[in-house]
Subunit: 363 residues, 2 copies
């Protein structure tokens, strides 16, 4: 039996779903519900647990754009379920309409590539279904469920590999929310009876570190501190950090890492202080990206920088500037941790020559 | 005539007071008014211009602790006027009461040394006044006025020296609010008909960069952008910054710089990208601090990290951690810019062998 269909377990099929920190539970990403997408509004975590019912492609697209859900792979799941909303007919769905919807969803966040891969895979099954006279929506839903299962299994394997790298009692500094590999690192550390301390850089302007990363470490039962994005370097210099750990929105074939802005500065500080920087990247590098030149850094609205909780922080007339991601060159990345093992950054291309552990990857 | 007594000019005696960006005007720091201290509440800038009337030493001490005013030298002016409140009698002031008040004010912020120097100087004039049967308060007020004048003149000279270092059209990245030397750098740049662009790192948690540094650059008429504290490294790497510029709360005799937390990370990023880091330190190094070992980094209440504008940002039970300052070693500091000239960081001790340009320094 495929564990993914046991809803009492997480997508990875190992842990009780309710024991997994909220943002990585089945309902913590995006779920298909009868005729709509149910999405936990991560922007309102940790203090409120609010779910949005999204009933058309445009609503899902705007939710992704507006950071209701984030994370390179999680947004691909959300986009996949969103695309299913473009194929509501039991027969005769229009492939052009589905392709238009896919284009809209791809445009939401340009830096990660998982949404585009998910859309390509969905359109392929949609075309087959139409050719065979079958309804499209169940085919898309089944594909997205499969993608979520594979992502979770890859994440768990990556978390286990990361756990092997960290001594009992280690303190990690994180930037942004390092997604499922990080959550499974926490779960696996607890399962092995080890401890880990997490210092969460808050990650302005959306505070994913303070809100999501801290929430997961707390829910996993570990000591958790929140700092501002200017403090990590000092703590590394003072010996209060053992490793810097992040996810990545894109990993190039040469080992370049693109992740939430702030990562590069911390990678520099880690190297200056002789500390490792581990990038968690469950599914290895992006074949489409040879090097930095292939990365499109997303620039978001600068108003998101100079307004917070309804309060303006800068003088009227002064603009915020908001590059969402930054680029960390391979020489600052100690190891890239994947589902297939741990790689030196400049050897990450050999991921594809390494035995596949979790078959069936879609994104 | 001493220009400091012309209230239409700033403390430096050169610019129209009203033409100086608000936080560095006479009323923008702290002013003595008849029988109380009037203090601009910098926490409410840039959107509101609110002044507090402080009528006892404890009120002034709490205002400094609570960041109504900040900046290593500006708080020494505020503390000086605050100390005058401990000597309200026209005759027979109690030196023990004044010394207790000085102790209270010194305890407010431990990392900078200017308050302690100001208190020592004030107690000296108080003792003399008591011996000579003169009222103490006017003597303290006169001393603090003199200190404010000298600080402003030093700041202006430092700003001129910094202006010499920056080509017309340069873009500087700043951290926190680099105080009077920075403001006079802006004023002098405008006076010479040059331009400067300012990228202000917002500087969580108090956002001095977004609020004060941006306000001053805007009021001086220059292009101003606000970024989060995780973005400066990326912008340096992308060639969008020509120099990193800060003030310093303490400078050791070996060239170590202690400044608002976040500075060290940016200094690392500047070095990694071949950019200069200029520390503005109008009055040279602190003789009392040979090296890093002599610095006491202030740790503030972690709740200031996980609450903002009345909104909690992290899960209940997760604590914030708040070191206020960090340490940048001399090899990351390109030049220390002072009133007496521009020094290599490892030569800053020679400041004291260099001809004094602004006599009468108190703090």
């Amino acid at each position: 039996m495929d564990d993914s269909i046991n809803p009492k377990l997480g997508w990875e099929g190992v842990f009780e779903n309710d024991s997994i920190p909220l943002p990585m539970r089945r309902a913590g990403m995006a779920e298909w519900q009868f005729d709509h997408v149910l999405m936990l509004d991560r922007r309102r975590l940790p203090l409120e647990e609010v779910y949005l019912q999204l009933r058309c492609v445009e609503e899902v697209a705007q939710a992704i754009e507006n950071m209701v859900i984030q994370g390179a792979f999680s947004i691909s799941i959300a986009a996949g379920y969103g695309l299913a909303l473009s194929a509501p007919q039991t027969t005769s769905d229009d492939i052009e309409q589905i392709e238009l919807a896919a284009q809209r969803l791809i445009q939401t966040r340009p830096t990660g590539l998982a949404i585009a891969r998910m859309m390509r895979a969905c359109i392929k099954v949609a075309k087959t279904a139409i050719q065979e006279g079958k309804p499209v929506q169940p085919e898309i839903l089944s594909l997205v469920d499969q993608a979520a299962t594979v992502l979770a299994k890859q994440g768990y394997q990556t978390g286990k590999n990361a756990c092997d790298l960290l001594a009992d009692g280690s303190t990690i500094l994180t930037q942004c929310f390092p997604d499922r590999s990080y959550v499974y690192l926490l779960m696996e550390t607890a399962r092995r009876g080890k401890t880990i301390n997490v210092i969460c850089s808050e990650t302005r302007p959306y505070l994913q570190g303070a809100r999501l990363t801290a929430l997961c470490a707390q829910q996993a039962g570990f000591k958790t501190k929140v700092i501002t994005d200017g403090m990590g370097g000092l703590l590394m210099r003072q010996g209060e950090v053992d490793a810097f750990v992040t996810a990545a929105d894109r990993v190039c074939m040469d080992g370049t890492v693109c992740n939430k802005v702030g990562t590069y500065q911390y990678a520099l500080a880690a190297q200056a202080n002789g500390l490792p920087y581990y990038t968690l990247r469950q599914s290895g590098p992006d074949r489409e990206s040879a090097s930095e030149a292939d990365i499109e850094v997303e620039y978001r609205n600068g108003e998101e920088i100079v307004n917070w909780a309804g309060v303006r922080t800068a003088p009227i007339g002064v603009h915020g500037y908001y590059p969402s991601f930054d680029i960390t060159p391979p020489d600052l990345v100690t190891k890239i941790v994947t589902d297939r093992g741990v790689f030196d950054s400049n050897k990450i291309a050999s991921y594809f020559e390494t035995a596949e552990k979790i078959p069936g990857a879609i994104v």
